[in-house]
Amino acid sequence: MLTAVLGLGQIGLVAAIALGWASKKFAVDVDARELAVNEVLPGVNCGACGYPGCSGYAGAVVKEAAPINLCPPGGSEVITAIARIMGLEDDVTEPQVAVVLCQGDNRKTTQKYIYTGMHDCNAANNIADGPKQCPNGCLGLGSCVTACPFDAIEITADDLAVISRERCTGCGLCVTACPRQLIRMTPATATVHVLCNSHDKGGVVRKYCEIGCIGCNICKKTAPEAFKIDQFLAQVDYAHDDDAAMAIDKCPKNCIVDFNSTYPDGSKFKPASIQPPTPACAGKDLP
């Protein structure tokens, strides 16, 4: 018994001394803050911060004094946590969600030509500016779906992109993926949006889209604070959008939608109050 205790004790002692010597001899400086920052980041490695993954961002925050609010998926909690680690005043951003500003699916809009080829909006948009007659409408080929690391975007059966407000973390990757700039980051509190992105004149819009904004000004007259008209396109002024919902029924083209009660046609996503079902083994959904 004694030999066993002594024997093991000796082994442990020798090993401990050797390790202690080695850790002195081969010591490397690691900033403990870097590890701590990495710890609080979400770890999804989405790249929305612009750095190669979460550990890259952690390194950048500590070594290059990168802004601490670059992690949209982490939201305010992460910013607060990083701020605490780095000893900074926290600089909390308002949570945002992405919205597809288009309702023009295949049944409601017309096409210029029949597109064949790579299933990607950017690729299609390079061929005569995309198959859709509307120069700013959703092409429905799913570049945003590919870009989204959170499975928050779906393409409906009629080729329209719809974003789930439940799942969207506001990382903004879809915004850059869309060749037509029709995905906009909006405050998460704003649920009423004008779902159109075409600056064409009303007469032109009518020709190619049943549900496009014609710039008729009715919404602006109904709720002057909440709307602004920019080149024949109504937009919600997210700074004063309290009354925006009043205009929903007034819009002659049904462009204004409140995501609290409705989602665009054919979407499997449900309004915020109802939890979307978890997708079953849906198989291949890559392009």
Binding site: D120, N126, A128, D129, T146
Partner: protein, 438 residues
């Protein structure tokens, strides 16, 4: 004569029988010409006329805006009707000068040929730029740029591209048959500009009449005619150099890096016109062909003639169209409508009905490796495409995606009919965007 070639490539059906035997016809003048300001690689030209101006044939109506840019000329006499966005062969609306044709077709009286006594490199180069000459094989790269190699890159060989490896197209073929003397004259001028002695004309051996004709014309001028194996893309610049000289243009480099300049036969003819007669590039030969056209023709067409008008000259179409292609079927652009005009790089206008084109469903890659065998640049197209679809541009770049010249061999061969060229383009765009970010 042994037939030289390169490694890789494919054998698409050549389909040249529609128009190969048809002599070049002069296309009549349409009522108006739509002359886009962007007809070449590089910066678009800037207009110098205003609406209502009277212009002569050959008069400069837009100026070059950079070194890699060329001026644009009126292709006939008439009045400037409008300067506004019009349909462009790229499918977009781009600024164009619309000329109402007066039917008199008067040359600008100030245009004069250059006396042989004044031939020196700089003067000739200046003239070639002023004449708006671009590569007429389809790439539309300004010719004067190719003719201005920096001093540290001595040129020893001029290769004249008479390959015309794209299916259906016969414009260069007819040029060689009917204007061989003019081409030879152009070659002599180009040799003078570059100060080189060796000139080789490469022609695919499926055009024995053109080879015979050019050999005869070239005999007295110490110009070699080289028959090449029939294979696509034999006419691609780098592949042509590889076949003729066994020299490899370095990746990302230009032929001038290895002492070579390549010019198309039609470009050579245009150079001759520009120097001898002072005529700028206002017309070119275009093959109008395809199974759907009633009578295929080789037409001498004014730049800016709407495609609709060209089709009328060929008695229209036999059945409803499915696809309109400007250029060859392997690298040409599909067209949104017939409203766009013929431009300097238009080598052909091809019309297809539904039954003439493949409608194979796109499947998954079965790794058959045919794209690998076909690729004349020895890339792995399927692998790059897979990475591109996933948006993994680092890997695509590692597999040299940016070396792709979009010749279309891989897509032509792919049994799953995957749009590999488009995937590769997508990869290239992604790589560029990534490089710009960092």
């Amino acid at each position: 004569m042994d037939k030289k070639t390169f490694v890789g490539g494919v054998h698409p059906p050549d389909c040249k029988h529609y128009s190969a035997a048809k002599p070049i016809e002069v296309c009549p003048l349409p009522e108006q010409l739509i002359i886009p300001l962007s007809q070449h690689i590089g910066a678009p030209a800037k207009e110098i006329v205003t609406v209502g101006d009277q212009v002569f044939k050959g008069q400069t109506i837009a100026n070059a805006t950079a070194f890699v840019s060329v001026p644009i000329h009126a292709a006939t006499s008439g009045r400037v009707m409008a300067i506004e966005p019009r349909p462009h062969p790229s499918g977009k609306l781009l600024p164009a000068i619309v000329i109402e044709v007066d039917g008199e077709d008067r040359w600008d009286p100030s245009l004069k040929g250059l006396d042989v006594a004044h031939w020196n490199s700089d003067e000739l180069r200046q003239r070639i730029k002023a004449a708006g000459i671009v590569g007429m094989g389809g790439a539309t790269f300004p010719t004067h740029v190719k003719l201005s190699p920096p001093d540290d890159k001595p040129i020893d060989t001029l290769i004249i591209n008479g390959v015309e490896c794209e299916s259906y197209l016969t414009a260069d073929h007819r040029m060689m048959l009917e204007h061989s003397e003019k081409i030879i004259d152009g070659i002599n001028i180009l040799r003078r500009v570059l100060g080189v002695k060796q000139a080789i004309i490469g022609i695919e051996s499926n055009k024995p009449d053109a080879i015979a004709c050019m050999t005869k014309a070239a005999a007295a001028h110490d110009i070699e005619v080289q028959a090449l194996e029939v294979k696509y893309p034999q006419g691609a610049e780098k592949q042509l150099i590889d076949a003729v000289l066994k020299r490899e243009v370095p990746s990302g480099g230009l032929p001038m890096d290895i002492g070579v300049v390549v010019q198309n036969v039609s470009t050579a003819a245009a150079v001759s016109d520009a120097i001898r007669l002072g005529h700028p590039l206002v017309e070119r030969v275009i093959t109008i062909s395809g199974p759907a056209v009633v009578e295929a023709k080789n037409l001498l067409v004014r730049i800016g003639t709407p495609m609709e008008f060209l089709l009328q000259q060929c008695d229209g179409i036999k059945y409803e169209l499915d696809k309109i292609i400007m250029g060859g079927p392997m690298m040409g652009q599909s067209q949104l409508s017939l409203a766009a005009p013929a431009i300097r790089g238009t080598s052909g206008l091809l019309l297809f009905g539904h039954q003439d084109l493949p409608h194979i469903e796109v499947g998954t890659c079965i790794r058959c490796g045919r794209c690998v065998t076909a690729c004349p640049l020895h890339l792995l197209p399927a692998t790059i495409a897979s990475y591109a679809i996933l948006g993994r541009f680092d890997e695509a770049e590692d597999y040299c995606a940016h070396d792709c010249m979009e010749c279309g061999c891989c897509t032509f061969q792919c049994p799953a009919n995957r749009p590999l060229v488009q995937n590769l383009r997508y990869a290239k765009a992604g790589i560029l965007a990534k490089q710009r970010r960092t």
